[in-house]
Amino acid sequence: MNLAQQALRAPVSALELTNILLTTDDAVVGATPREVVWTHRSTTLYHYRSSDRSQAVPILLVFALINRPEIFDLRPGSSLVEYLLEEGFDLFLVDWGVPSEEDADTGLDEYVCDELHWAIRETLRASGAEEVTLMGWCIGATLCAMYCGLDRGSEQTPVRNLVLLTMPVDGRGSTYARWVGDPEFDVEMVAEQWRALPGQAIDFANKMLKPVTNFFTTYRRLAQGVFDGTVRKDAYQPMAKWVADNPPFPGRAWSQWIRWMYQDEALVAGRMRLRGRRVDLRRVDQNLLVITAGADHIAPRAGTMPIFDLVASDDVTHIDRPGGHIGLIAGSAARNQIWPEMAAWLAERSER
């Protein structure tokens, strides 16, 4: 296309670009049919039924406390939920909902000891299974690891497999730690003042890790794709909509997260306590699959690696691939690259 053609096409391209940006909110995400199994406060447990269930152990999907869990089911043809259902797994998803000020006193102890524990209980009841696979992503993965590492005395956890996707476990050395690790940063005061931290503030901080890429390059690439005629609206919009959907982070849970992950590294040191019970990752003895992304700037690989020195699992698999924090699992290449490996690993360990 020569310069004159480009100039003639510019108004149409500008119109198309504006249309893509303005209609992003209309994109459909999380379209796979599901039913509500259980609710408590703002938490909801959903059940995705496989029409061809062949695996005995159901999977419980746990996402982070930032952003929404629809990333597991982004769009038809690019949905991990859809893929796992086709592979014969029965799926459950715990959705933390959209907390508000009245949830300000909800801490990580509530999420791990109550919500996640009860969600597992309801998953077992609804599926009729005796064991479950926990698949957590980002903070959701850390919550799953905390759950498995929680001191329960003689009580056994009904978790057979633990799948941890791009999980932060040791915040030391990360850019986040440089921002909030300073003891002078009054985490408690911020949590108390805000009660529930606005999702936009969390999103802004995440984007500030790569400011030019997130605030400029993404849109420049979109515009370039429109002008070149290579843009894929159906792929861009669901992801853009998901990225912009940021629920608030309950103040108490946020302050605990910052303190334990970035200020005193209580989780890796085994000093973390939930409701007086110690969380020690050396108690994690489930079949363990850990997936790290080489270009992950939110949960850098170096911050996940300490898990391998801590857990007691005999069956440990580590998959490391190039990619970003979200792109590795939800990107357009995931269906052919990482999902088949995950499904194969799970299938070997999900028999009755």
């Binding site: 408590h40 406060r41 508000s100 000020e101 009245e102 949830d103 300000a104 006193d105 009860w118 209980r121 077992l124 009841r125 005796e130 009904p158 850019t175 440089r178 921002w179 909030v180 690790g181 300073d182 002078e184 940063f185 009054d186 005061m189 911020v190 003042q193 805000w194 009660r195 503030a201 901080a205 500030m208 890790l209 790569k210 400011p211 030019v212 890429t213 400029f216 390059t217 420049r220």
Partner: protein, 134 residues
């Protein structure tokens, strides 16, 4: 050497400009990433966060005060009601769990009882592994 020169000539000026621009953008992105990774930037961000949080709180409290003086329910009232609902829901959840547990136990007892009755009736003495309680 001649082939390399041909290859260099084959790149259009437009592509060269684009490559140059992208290199500039990549370098700028890297420079900004280095900037935000500095402790001094973290300090600025932390102080800004504390200030914004305080300002938001002051603004919210002021708006709440105005509403409450107009005898309209403010945010604090809604939050208090929400918390009361949460407490009620927590209690209800625990009661439901107790009920479900009792129902499961009853079902197991009934199943064991009918098994025992059947085995004594037929005289076969079949045994059944007790179901794992959840």
């Amino acid at each position: 050497m001649a082939r390399a020169e041909d290859g260099a000539k084959a790149v259009s000026p437009e592509a060269q400009v684009r490559a140059l621009y992208e290199k500039g953008e990549t370098d700028t992105a890297k420079a900004f990433e280095d900037l935000v990774a500095k402790p001094s930037f973290g300090r600025v961000l932390a102080l800004s966060t504390e200030n914004i949080a305080s300002l938001v709180r002051i603004g919210a409290d002021f708006a709440d005060l105005v509403l409450r003086n107009l005898r309209i329910a403010g945010r604090a009232d809604m939050t208090r009601l929400g918390r009361q609902l949460h407490r009620t829901e927590d209690k209800l959840e625990r009661v439901l769990q107790e009920v479900e547990q009792l129902r499961d136990e009853l079902r197991h007892q009934q199943a064991d009882g009918s098994d025992a009755g059947r085995s004594s009736g037929t005289g076969r003495g079949t045994s059944r592994r007790p179901e794992k309680s959840r």
